[in-house]
Structures are given as structure tokens and as C-alpha cells.
């Protein structure tokens, strides 16, 4: 019992320490973002644009594919249940609301977490091992400003865009399977989809994806910056970046949904 309590206490402390370190990193990045309004040079422009291209443009294809697949699956599964009530024409409503509110942001974030988060952690981790981060420090360049800031900003701008693409593609996937496989009239499908959605569905989804983007960037960069040692440590940091990001995304998603749809007045 004693060891159990001890271990639980240790685990809680461990988590709290992690949250504290992440908040410190987040605060530093936030300070630089604020500073960049006065002195735009604070943002290393080349890295920022390079990251935007890598995160945004180069992820469009995979996000489209995954989004469309999820939309299709959702339509198929929903139709199965809705058919029993004779409500198969509501498939469109279900797909559009589910995609914009929940699945679009979630799927986009998880794909980006695997694609970009892992990459950030591995890249910064390797830079730590090869003394490149120390080199930056000795040149009087703050590594957080030079490495973490552009990545955070690029991801925060790009993930909501990718979420819109995932939403659209999901609805398109649902639509295609709806009018072909399920035999729903295209006009009815579209009308039901549009009727069911309200603006709040879309912007809460985008807000979520923005929060997720900050989480992914901070967790991944933090994991990268805490590498010490060699290749082994880089591998560990990369795995941890992805795992911690995904867990945090889902937990925060839970909280955000509860707050947005149940705690706040509609």
C-alpha cells in the first residue's frame, strides 16, 4: 500500500513537473510572439516559411486521403444504424456535424502529430546531440526563439487550414458514398448536411485544432530540447513526442468539448 501511494505520488509529481516545463516553454514562446508585433525580426523568417510549406502544403495530400476515408467510413457506419429508423437521409447531417465538430480537427491533428511532431523532436534532438543548439547559444541566439518559435507559429497557422481540408474531404467522402452506395438523392444529402450545421460547429472545430497545434509544437520541441546523450535519446524523445502529444490532444479534446457544449451557454 505504501509503495503504491509512493508510486502514485511520484507519477503525479512527474506529470506536474512536465506540465510546468511545458508552460515555461509556452510562456517564453508567447513572450516572443508578443515581441514580434513590435520587432518583426524576432521571427526567423526563412525557417518559418520553410516550416509552413513542410507542414501545410506537403501534408495536404495525406490529410485529404485520411479525411476522405474517415468521412466514407462514417457515412457507411451511420447508415447502418440510421436505416433501422428509416432515417438514412440524415446520414449527411451526421457526417457533416461529426466531421466539423470532432473528427476533422482530431484526425488532422493526429496525422500531423505523427508527421510533423516526430520530425520536430528528432530534428531538434539531433541538433542537441551535435552541439548545434549550444552553438546557437554561444552566438547569442536564443534557441527557443530561433528553433521553437517559427515551428509553433507555422503549425498554429497551418493546422486549422489542414482541418478545413479534412472537414471538406470528409464531407465529400460521405457525399460520394451516400449518393452511390447508399442511394440517397444528392440534393437531399446536401440540403440535410447544410441544415444540420451551424457556424459554431465550424469555428469550435477550428479553435480546437489551433489548441492542438500549440500542444503538438510545444510537446515536440520540448522533447527535442531535453535530449542529452546520443541516438538512443533522440529515438526516445521522438516516440515520447508523438505519444504525449496524442494523449494530450485527446484529453484536451475531452475537456474542450465538455466546456464548449455543456458548460458554456449556447
Amino acid at each position: 500500500m505504501k509503495t503504491f501511494a509512493g508510486k502514485t505520488g511520484q507519477a503525479i509529481l512527474f506529470v506536474l513537473a512536465g506540465v510546468a516545463r511545458l508552460s515555461t516553454l509556452g510562456a517564453t514562446v508567447g513572450r516572443y510572439v508578443a515581441e514580434s508585433f513590435i520587432r518583426p525580426r524576432v521571427i526567423p523568417r526563412e525557417t518559418f516559411f520553410h516550416q509552413m510549406v513542410m507542414i501545410g502544403i506537403e501534408s495536404t495530400a495525406i490529410i485529404s486521403l485520411v479525411g476522405a476515408s474517415v468521412g466514407t467510413v462514417l457515412a457507411l457506419q451511420a447508415a447502418y444504424s440510421l436505416k433501422t429508423f428509416g432515417a438514412i437521409m440524415y446520414t449527411g447531417s451526421l457526417v457533416s456535424v461529426a466531421m466539423t465538430r470532432e473528427l476533422g480537427p482530431l484526425i488532422a491533428s493526429i496525422v500531423i502529430c505523427g508527421r510533423i511532431g516526430a520530425r520536430m523532436a528528432a530534428e531538434i534532438g539531433t541538433m542537441m546531440v551535435q552541439e548545434e543548439v549550444d552553438a546557437l547559444t554561444t552566438m547569442g541566439i536564443n534557441p527557443i526563439r530561433y528553433l521553437v518559435l517559427p515551428r509553433c507559429l507555422a503549425l498554429a497557422l497551418m493546422l486549422p487550414c489542414l482541418t478545413v481540408i479534412a472537414d471538406m474531404m470528409g464531407m465529400l467522402g460521405g457525399f460520394l458514398i451516400g449518393i452511390t452506395g447508399l442511394g440517397i438523392n444528392p440534393y437531399v444529402y446536401i440540403a440535410k448536411s447544410v441544415d444540420a450545421m451551424v457556424l459554431k460547429d465550424i469555428y469550435t472545430g477550428l479553435l480546437k485544432s489551433f489548441i492542438f497545434s500549440i500542444l503538438i509544437a510545444l510537446v515536440s520541441c520540448h522533447q527535442g530540447l531535453s535530449v542529452s546523450g546520443g541516438a538512443d535519446a533522440v529515438g526516445k524523445a521522438t516516440t515520447q513526442a508523438v505519444v504525449i502529444s496524442i494523449v494530450l490532444i485527446i484529453v484536451v479534446d475531452c475537456l474542450a468539448t465538455a466546456v464548449i457544449y455543456y458548460a458554456l451557454p449556447t
Partner: protein
């Protein structure tokens, strides 16, 4: 040491502890301006740790480090960054940014710390690369050039902002003797041409005697001896002699006596 040597770095009694272990144990050192000071010592004697203190990557547990009239021990980051502009540092593994070309690497400090236009930065980069004998390598990626060339690029980057002091961490490590001696020539050249103060950490005797104006020998976190290469060569200290002769048996035994070995095994 002659009176004409003005100190640019003065280290006063610094101590650094990692846990219970004192890695640096009361070091007092004066580094004269415009000269080449070589810091030597066996592996694990604390010489790299000492260097990292000089550039502000570590903070000492106690003591003062005066660099160009400013105590950098425990300085805030912003002020430290001001001091760091007077520094250049050549890392053991070169520490070039792998995602950038050679030219971009050298341009990093210029872009970050000056308001110069891209055109002028390009010219400065060429001049610096010329100084280290790498004209025309601007567009190569770090993985396309050899280890010795990487060191030279890193050196060009270190002197990009015309620093007063350049630190070298094991400049000859991992290089063949010819390339290593070329790097030594460069250190000598830069020091004379640009009147740069150089602080070199190394354990290579040949290189040290070739370039040093002053040699500092560290042992177990303490300064064992300071002097000109001549004085070190004629040192009466038996550890210094063992070190410069490179013998495995001496004051520092390679093998333990059988009693000591047995005692060590039985110790818990």
C-alpha cells in the same frame, strides 16, 4: 609573463560541483589579450567544463569570471548575449547546421545580429570563407565536405562577427595530422592577422607547443601549472612530465598494485 600582456579574461577561484563531485575546484587563471592560450589536461580533468564556463554555457557554483571588464558568472541571458557577441566558438564536432549550406551557416550570426543587406552579407561570407581557405564552397551542404573542411567552415562562422576572443574545443580531434596542423596554422594566422585572443582546449602536445603563447595545465579540477611552452617543457613537476612525454606509467599509475586492487574489489 611580461607586463605588456593585458588580461582579457580573468577567472577568480571558480568552483563547479555536479552533485558532490567538484569538477572544477578553485581555478584561478589569467588569459592575456591577443595571445594564444592553450588549456591542457588528461581526459576528465575538467577542461571542457572549464571552457563551457568561459562562454557562459555553465554557471559556476562559486567564483567570478571577468571577460573584458564584465563578470559573466550569473549574468542574465540578455546581458550574456551582449558579451557573447565578442566571442566565437569552434565546437569539437564543428556543430554546423546540417539543413543549411556552408554559406548560410556562416551568414547566421550576421543575419541575426546585424542589419546588413543580403548582398553585403554575401560578400562578408565570401571574405570569411576566403580567410579559412574555402573560396567557392558557399553552396555545398555540410555533409558534402570533409571533417577538416567542416572545422574550417565552423571557424569562418565563429569569426563572422569579428570577435575579440575565439574559443576552440579540441580543434584537432578526429583529423589527420596534416589537416590538424593546417588548423593550427589557421589559428596562428587569425590570431596574428586579426589580433584575436585564442583559447584552445586540447590534449595534443604537438599542436599545443606549436601554437601556444601560454599553456595552462589542469589536473583534477585544479590548475597544475601555468607557463610558456618553454617553461612547461622544462617543468620539474612529475605529472606534467608524464603528460608531455605521454607515458602510461608514472605518477599516475596505469596499473594498480595488487593490494590496492584487492582492496578496491572488497570495498563495498
Amino acid at each position: 609573463m611580461s607586463e605588456s600582456m593585458l588580461p582579457i579574461i580573468e577567472v577568480k577561484n571558480i568552483v563547479k560541483r555536479f552533485g558532490d563531485r567538484a569538477v572544477l575546484d578553485g581555478i584561478n587563471v589569467v588569459i592575456p589579450q591577443g595571445k594564444i592560450t592553450v588549456i591542457m589536461g588528461g581526459s576528465g580533468c575538467g577542461k571542457t567544463t572549464f571552457l563551457r564556463h568561459l562562454i557562459g554555457l555553465h554557471t559556476p557554483t562559486s567564483g567570478e569570471i571577468w571577460v573584458d571588464g564584465k563578470n559573466i558568472a550569473g549574468l542574465k541571458e540578455k546581458e550574456m548575449n551582449e558579451v557573447r557577441r565578442k566571442f566565437g566558438m569552434l565546437f569539437q564536432g564543428s556543430a554546423l547546421f546540417n539543413s543549411m549550406t556552408v554559406g548560410e551557416n556562416v551568414a547566421v550570426p550576421l543575419k541575426e545580429h546585424t542589419d546588413l543587406s543580403a548582398e553585403i552579407i554575401r560578400i562578408i561570407v565570401r571574405v570569411k570563407l576566403e580567410l579559412v581557405g574555402l573560396t567557392g564552397f558557399d553552396d555545398f551542404m555540410p555533409h558534402e565536405i570533409s571533417g577538416g573542411m567542416k572545422k574550417r567552415v565552423a571557424l569562418a562562422r565563429a569569426i563572422a562577427l569579428d570577435p575579440k576572443i575565439v574559443f576552440y574545443d579540441e580543434p584537432g580531434a578526429g583529423l589527420d595530422p596534416i589537416t590538424a596542423s593546417m588548423i593550427d596554422r589557421l589559428i596562428l594566422d587569425l590570431s596574428k592577422k586579426l589580433n584575436i585572443t585564442s583559447v584552445v582546449v586540447t590534449h595534443e602536445m604537438k599542436s599545443a607547443f606549436r601554437i601556444a603563447d601560454q599553456i595552462i595545465i589542469l589536473h583534477k579540477g585544479k590548475v597544475l601549472q601555468v607557463g610558456t611552452p618553454q617553461e612547461i617543457q622544462n617543468s620539474k613537476n612529475s605529472y606534467v612530465q608524464q603528460f608531455i612525454q605521454g607515458e602510461s606509467e608514472g605518477v599516475i599509475p596505469f596499473k594498480q598494485t595488487s593490494e590496492a586492487y584487492l582492496k578496491g574489489l572488497l570495498e563495498t
